[in-house]
Amino acid sequence: MNSHKLPVGSYIRFEKPQLQAVIDRLRQLGYRTVGPRRVDEAIVYDDLRSIDELPVGYLDYQDGGVYRLRHSADGGWFDYVVGPHSLKNFLFPPRDRVLEAHREPGGWRMETPAVDEPPIAAIGVRSCDLHALAIQDRVFLEQEYVDPAYRARRANLFVLAINCRRAAATCFCHSMNTGPQVTRGYDLAATEVDDHFVVEVGSDAGGHVVTAADWVPSALADVERARQQSQALKRRMQGRQAAAATRPRHASSAAELGPAAELGPPAESGRAAELGDVPGIGAVGESDVAQHQPLGRFLDTRELPELLLSNLSHPRWEQVAERCLSCANCTLVCPTCFCSSVEEVGDLTGEHVVRQRSWASCFTAEHSYMNSGTVRKTTASRYRQWLTHKLATWHEQFGTSGCVGCGRCITWCPVGIDLTQEVAAIRGDES
């Protein structure tokens, strides 16, 4: 056991089960360790105390309105991609308290609730979500006002990131320059290589925690192999983009897509037959990918804000509104969507009141409600608000796109609306 602190930038490797020692060290240090867990047939972030709780071997099949898990004997520890949860669920939780008011003899006493929770250590965070974290930082920390609860949780966050070696059909981080390789905002960044992890130390805290594992220094070849995995995935995503660009983009259901809508890690070749019993589910090897030409997502971001803001009266908004249920799922699973509403929660005496902040969505009528009426009454106007904010006006507000290409809004849309298709439709009519 090595006990000294490893410097930032160093690479080590340890056998996969050694991840338990890292989790144990984090928990000794007082962290609440959260990571991917299989709950209700989806992979979500939840408390993770043991590596036995990891959904090892599971692969997620994602498409518009579709999410399915399949177990595969040769799947890795982290070869699923993103589920409905993101770091937002922990730093900007769905419900939070912003103020408490207590009636006392002299009058009301107002106070800011303390954040009295253990710090979070998130395990298995993907590059897209680290970019989303940086975007939420801009909203809650880097504008005129600072949200105290977010700041408190963010300051103590520990991130063990994972470099993806597989992409879902809904992933388009390569379009948004947000992945698949982890590049920022991590304490440790791990890559699965065969039966071990190659780990880069990204912070002092990471350099301390990782020494809990039985590690050895990474050989240059290990580091190179880890890098090549990410680069190869990015190339495959780009290749998929080229393939999709030459095909009609209307297909959005699993049936239309066929069984090969996923890109698997290189090691997955030959598993297609095993997974073939459920149509459209499972990851397959590269030969199958080539055979079936999956429709990968990509988003053409060239002058996208200008494109959308000059098409605010485009008929496409009405067309997408015919499918959109205005259910708000896309905004809830989005790792950057930050809208919220504050409500009064009082006790029965009315003498103790908590102002509770909950996630809100621009897809509701309440969101734009004023006493003079609701501004955005139609679904078309709400979808337009969401997409133009996410991809256009976000740049003016925060100097970045509001989209990280994680694809959650596509997967979790009950009718499979795909923002990349909506943008392409508007762009297509333009050119």
Binding site: L99, M110, F140, E144, A380
Partner: protein
């Protein structure tokens, strides 16, 4: 812009400060002016705002409402808010009495460009309770009257009873404000104009190159005020509007008040017309 407590350590911007109602003045049916004093004497002394800014008024158990400040920015200690009963918070506010307590956060938002328009003729065009956020600007113009050219107040309401601050109009006229009023529906005592606010422009002989327009009221009214101003060759750059959206947090966190790239709570409520021009005629944006 800052919270009311610049001296305090990094205070939560969500923290409301307690204040008490010092006076109540019914202005019109359903509209009352509340003068508030912050309980903390130090905060009360340090509280400053610029004309056009707003506070979040908080009634525990009911919620918060964004209310523009309607009092003189130079006056210390008392903060005036003219409130029209419209939603549940303002209804609850209407039940309060002098001495009752509430919470206050602020001031928030942008302000009327009283410095930028120095030397110009100023046309203030507003409707109904839209005069409230402009009253601090009027007090400023009166206090620095020699810094400005002609000052017009074009003001309209549904009926003569709905006109605000009419008891001050003689003072304002004496201070060199040219007041023109109109109502949608007159009564037997009404000797003035009948019609919408924009028609009052026909009464004016504007020197367009040196005229600015500050307007606040229903969006439809502001659109026609802008139309009349532009028709008289007032430069777009010299037109300022105060927008209303659902301001839930006032901190640009909650997202409800977005209007294109703007957070109305932070970038507004007062905008140069240029910033809003692409969106004003867009339905449901």
């Amino acid at each position: 812009m800052s919270t009311a407590a610049p001296g305090a350590a990094p205070a939560s911007p969500w923290l409301a400060h307690t204040a008490r109602i010092r006076s109540l003045k019914p202005e019109a049916p359903g509209i009352t002016t509340y003068e508030l004093a912050l309980d903390d004497a130090g905060l009360a002394e340090r509280f400053r705002f610029r004309p056009g800014q707003f506070n979040m008024l908080y009634l525990p158990g009911c919620g918060e409402a964004a209310i523009s400040i309607s009092s003189d920015p130079e006056r210390r200690g008392l903060i005036g808010h003219t409130v029209r009963v419209a939603g549940n918070v303002t209804q609850a506010l209407a039940r309060l009495q002098v001495g009752d307590q509430l919470g206050l956060r602020g001031p928030f938002g942008s302000s009327w460009p009283v410095d930028a328009v120095r030397g110009q003729d100023v046309v203030i065009a507003c409707g109904g309770v839209g005069l409230a956020p402009l009253r601090p600007a009027i007090y400023h113009l009166i206090r620095h009257r020699q810094d400005y050219g002609r000052v017009f107040l074009l003001y309209g309401a549904r009926s003569p009873h709905d006109l605000l601050y009419t008891d001050e109009f003689d003072q304002w006229r004496a201070a060199g404000i040219e007041v023109e009023m109109t109502v949608d529906l007159g009564n037997s005592d009404w000797q003035g104009h009948i019609g919408v606010v924009p028609i009052l422009f026909y009464r004016l002989r504007l020197k367009a190159p040196r005229t600015c327009v500050l307007t606040c009221g229903p969006e439809i009214m502001m659109r026609f005020v802008i139309f009349e101003a532009l028709a008289r060759k007032v430069a777009k750059e010299n037109i300022y509007i105060s927008m209303e959206r659902n301001m839930n947090c006032a901190l640009s966190f909650c997202g409800h008040c977005q209007l294109g790239p703007a957070f109305v709570c932070k970038d507004g409520p007062v905008f140069p017309y240029r910033a809003m021009e692409p969106y004003l005629n867009l339905e449901e944006f």
